[in-house]
Amino acid sequence: MVRPPELLEDVLDGIDALLVFSPSGAYYDRAKDVEGADVVVVAPENAVGADEFVELPLAFDDVKERIRFGIEGALTEGVVDDGDELGCAAPLFGDDIDMVARTKVDESRHSGIYDLFANSRAEPGVIRDVFEVAIELGKKGQKGEPIGALFVVGDAGKVMNKSRPLSYNPFEKSHVHVGDPIVNVMLKEFSRLDGAFVISDSGKIVSAYRYLEPGAEGTDIPKGLGARHMAAGAITRDTSAVGIALSESDGLVRAFKNGELVLELDPEEY
């Protein structure tokens, strides 16, 4: 006769570190003194005051994505090393932790998502807000029709100098920031316009209607993506901005950094 917890023992046996996703304070208090493994908290904010903490900027609905992000974060922060065995405890169905998983840190699968948020010029919160706007746009579209959009976030001064206006700038002399409540509606209306949105490091919407003119040589993006994605890839190669593109044809949100595709998200999954 075995008790159910004993069946799961080998899942967490011999792990080097335990990633705990969004734990409650009481759970963390129980977990922090666990023997033989480091405890790393992965959560939107460090509410439990953990020493080793990885910020989760997006509410990944897919647990696999969330765990991959957590691992990349822990790897980038130097909390875990390549080849470490990891245990993960995360909430899956409810708000409390209700699943455990085991995985291995594999540096070759490093995609740079964490790097996109943590080491970009723009503030992580701004990138997250832009992602949220893009996901929202992707979900709802404009009057039911799918729409495309391109946001260039960070390094706005340089981006402005590598682009030209297609028409008057509707954000001239305005002080709108992404994350302001009114922005979703405004961007939805303006995304009908052609061209890119330029957003500064602190989240101020500098301009809409920009035609990007970066040098596109050497930009390596997957074949089959259109001009919008090519422009996004190219501008991030020329500047230290992050490009976030919503595709009109397949409805996916893609992020580019240093001329490379870093992250691909399906808005329907959020």
């Binding site: 706005a156 340089k158 981006v159 402005m160 100098n161 002399k173 500064s200 490091d201 101020k204 500098v206």
Partner: protein, 258 residues
């Protein structure tokens, strides 16, 4: 001033009357206490004082701040009605003793209430400031919430003492010196921040230059990356200059157009 009750009735009636006064007082006090508790809860005072030391102390003895305050008002009325009843029954031996005390009673109550409110307010201010500063991880900053708390307490004690008629002139002068020093140091310390903010408001309203423009402010020439209330970020060749906005006004700004 003593009132002569002998004309009203004889001794038996006086005792009866005193008993009626006393019990009315008890009932009245109890009711006022209950209404007070309801009122305080309706005004969400119990939420507002949660986590302060007084509230924790009240919880330790199995009560709460709100019911303690309500109990206190009840007891004040009980005591008062007992005094009146004694007076009515003419049981006081030396009535002269009571009057100064009874006359002193209201200001004592006010003093206690002020002290109580001061302690609550101080605790609350300490919590608020502490929460604000929590994200800033500088250990020395834990001093600031304490300073705020004791400043509030000091003022409360001052008001309470002046209520009960203690000479507080020296303490008042100390308070004035403290406030004057605070204002002086803030003004001197944040002079540049204030002038920068004033200039920043102009820059944000009029936007003589915007993000992407090439400008020269003083010795720094580059592309504007960010303008906020206090500073302008100017970048050139991988160097980002953070220029305080008051410099924009003092040194002037050159907008470079190619």
């Amino acid at each position: 001033m003593p009132v002569d009750y002998t004309q009203v009735a004889d001794a038996d009636f006086r005792y009866l009357f005193a008993a009626v006064v006393f019990f009315t007082g008890i009932v009245f006090g109890y009711l006022v206490g209950r209404v007070n508790e309801r009122l305080l809860r309706a005004m969400d005072v119990d939420d507002a004082v949660e986590g302060t030391t007084i509230d924790q102390m009240a919880r330790d003895v199995g009560s709460s701040t709100v019911s303690l305050v309500a109990r206190l008002t009840s007891w004040i009325i009980y005591a008062f009605s007992a005094l009146v009843a004694l007076e009515v029954a003419q049981l006081t031996v030396q009535d002269a003793v009571w009057y100064p005390i009874v006359g002193f009673f209201p200001s004592l109550v006010v003093a206690v209430v002020v002290l109580f409110a001061g302690v609550l307010l101080g605790d609350k201010a300490e919590l608020l400031v502490g929460e604000r500063l929590r994200s800033v991880k500088v250990p020395e900053l834990t001093l600031i919430p304490l300073v705020v708390k004791y400043s509030v307490l000091y003022v409360a004690v001052l008001i309470a003492l002046s209520q009960v008629g203690v000479a507080v002139d020296a303490l008042l002068i100390l308070l004035l010196a403290y406030v004057a020093a605070l204002i002086l140091f803030t003004a001197v310390g944040t002079r540049h921040l204030l002038t920068s903010a004033a200039a920043g408001v102009y820059l944000l309203l009029r936007q003589p230059y915007g993000i992407g423009d090439r400008v020269a402010i003083g010795d720094h020439e580059g592309i504007v990356q960010e303008v906020d209330v206090f500073v302008t970020h100017v970048e050139e060749n991988g160097r980002e200059y953070v220029v305080p906005n008051h410099l924009v006004f003092r040194r002037g700004v050159v907008v470079v157009r190619e």
